[in-house]
């Protein structure tokens, strides 16, 4: 029988909890156990933020329970058997959790070593998107859905697609729920990729995020956004509108409502999704001052200049 493990987040902030939640999906693919996630309390394995008061309170208690594993996150703990540094890095988290689960919970018989059989998972569209980002962290993968196929070379940040880029649009639809994610040997990947069209990892992630209506940010309306760095729009295959919308985010913190006013709801969500997915977006909570939202206006002068130049206002 397959072992189930609950991973608990103790004292972690919202961003870290979201990261862990998405990593659970990847763990499901990679490890021999099944994972559940508890966002606000201990599990068999707990990641404890020692920089938070609630985390520090729980730490001693968890360490006294031998059936539980406590992982120190940040702060000081000389008695920590396991430790993660801040900020959370997907690769480190995955590696540590896999090591602990193998070490403590998987018997040789359960591990199925020596047996073949690729990991297969059915994923929802949103889960797929989040996992797609993580798949580029490491390993080589084949993603299949009927005739559609996507090969991913994580270490080299490359991918290959069977068919034109429009195939991705089909994958990005919410109906794209039945997907096989198979680990593939690097040599086999090279062979399979020979006849397929290459696409860079950032361009692939950008495409999915930009054309997917799912909001990765849980609460778009109550945050402000700003570019960390200008994206390479040419490499991403982005259009002229993306350049305009990104420009709005390039010099100041912009409320979602302001971006929405200029770009429309769908494009505003898509753009923020895409910029967040490639790591170029800074996010901060909205200040509780309604007067600061909705103040970006397409200035009268600039509108008239645009009109004279023959571009959209």
């Amino acid at each position: 029988m397959v072992r189930r493990i609950t991973l608990g987040a103790c004292g972690l902030d919202e961003n870290d909890r979201l990261v862990l939640q998405s990593l659970i999906n990847i763990l499901e693919l990679r490890s021999e156990v099944r994972w559940d996630f508890s966002s606000e309390g201990p599990g068999e394995i707990s990641i404890v933020d020692l920089d938070s008061e609630s985390g520090r309170r729980l730490w001693g208690e968890l360490c006294r329970q031998p059936e539980r594993v406590a992982i120190a996150y940040g702060g000081q703990a000389e008695d920590a058997a396991y430790r993660l540094e801040k900020p959370l890095r997907s690769r480190s988290v995955l590696q540590l959790l896999q090591d602990i689960s193998r070490e403590r919970y998987v018997t040789e018989a359960e591990s199925g070593e020596g047996q073949s059989g690729p990991a297969t998972a059915e994923l929802s569209g949103k889960q797929f998107f989040q996992q797609l980002i993580d798949l580029f962290e490491s390993g080589t993968w084949a993603l299949r859905d009927g005739d559609r196929m996507l090969l991913i070379d994580g270490p080299r940040k490359r991918a290959w697609l069977r068919g034109p880029v429009d195939v991705l649009a089909g994958m990005a639809r919410k109906s794209f729920a039945r997907l096989q994610v198979l680990p593939i040997e690097a040599a086999a990947l090279e062979t399979a990729a020979r006849s397929l069209d290459p696409i860079s990892a950032p361009a692939l992630i950008w495409y999915f995020a930009r054309h997917h209506s799912l909001a990765l940010q849980a609460d778009l309306a109550n945050r402000r956004y700003r570019l960390r760095r200008w994206p390479n729009l040419r490499q991403l295959g982005a259009g002229p509108d993306d350049a305009r919308f990104c420009a709005l985010l390039s010099r100041r913190w912009i409320a979602f409502t302001d971006l929405e006013l200029v770009a429309g709801t769908r494009d505003a969500i898509g753009l923020l999704n895409a910029l967040a997915a490639i790591g170029l977006l800074q996010v901060r909570p909205e200040e509780r001052n309604p007067a600061t939202a909705g103040t970006v206006v397409s200035g009268g002068l600039f509108s008239r200049i645009r009109k004279r130049l023959g571009v959209g206002a």
Binding site: W230, N232, A243
Partner: protein, 175 residues
């Protein structure tokens, strides 16, 4: 009423005069002199004071397009030209020996103006000189704490220059 104007700057020979010509209603007024320094190898004449073009809005209001003289010996002109400007277009020639160092000159000299208004960077001649690429420029700007727009442009094409101005105006939108 103050003058409405956009400023184009960049190293000598990058094509500021050409960019202004691409969108100006009339052939730009160019104050060229014979190039007497290393520039004479690539360009017979260079802009000594400024380039000047113009577009007229529906209500008759004029928007001026000024190109700064590229050579640093004329940099005393830069401060005069930017006074009251709406924003800055920095053109960088990727075929020059160190385009990122060129960019630094303009980021440094126009830092106050960029902070107060906005700027966009147009990189030219990338088709023949792909390095540094757009990521290199963006990373370089990030090290300066900036996320200014960086676009590949062919300044002979009107639509590329229009896009630069359009993106520049987005960065300057009031908030």
């Amino acid at each position: 009423m103050s003058e409405l104007k956009f400023i184009f700057t960049g190293p000598p020979g990058v094509g500021k005069s050409t960019a202004i010509a691409a969108v100006s209603e009339f052939a730009p007024v160019v104050t060229d002199v014979l190039a007497t320094d290393e520039l004479s190898d690539i360009k017979a004449q260079t802009t000594a004071a400024l380039d000047f073009g113009e577009i007229t809005l529906d209500d008759g209001e004029k928007v001026r397009l000024y190109g700064t003289p590229g050579q640093r010996r004329f940099s005393f002109m830069w401060e005069i030209l930017i006074e009251g400007g709406l924003g800055l277009v920095i053109l960088v020639d990727n075929s020059r020996p160190d385009p990122l160092a060129d960019l630094d000159i303009y980021l440094e000299n126009f830092s106050g103006f960029i902070r107060d208004t906005g700027a966009v960077i147009g990189v030219t001649r990338m088709e023949s000189h792909p390095q540094p690429d757009l990521d290199d420029f963006a990373a370089h700007l990030e090290r300066h704490g900036l996320a200014l727009p960086v676009l590949e442009v062919d300044i002979r094409r009107r639509e590329d220059v229009v896009q630069l101005l359009d993106v520049l105006m987005m960065t300057c939108e009031p908030a």
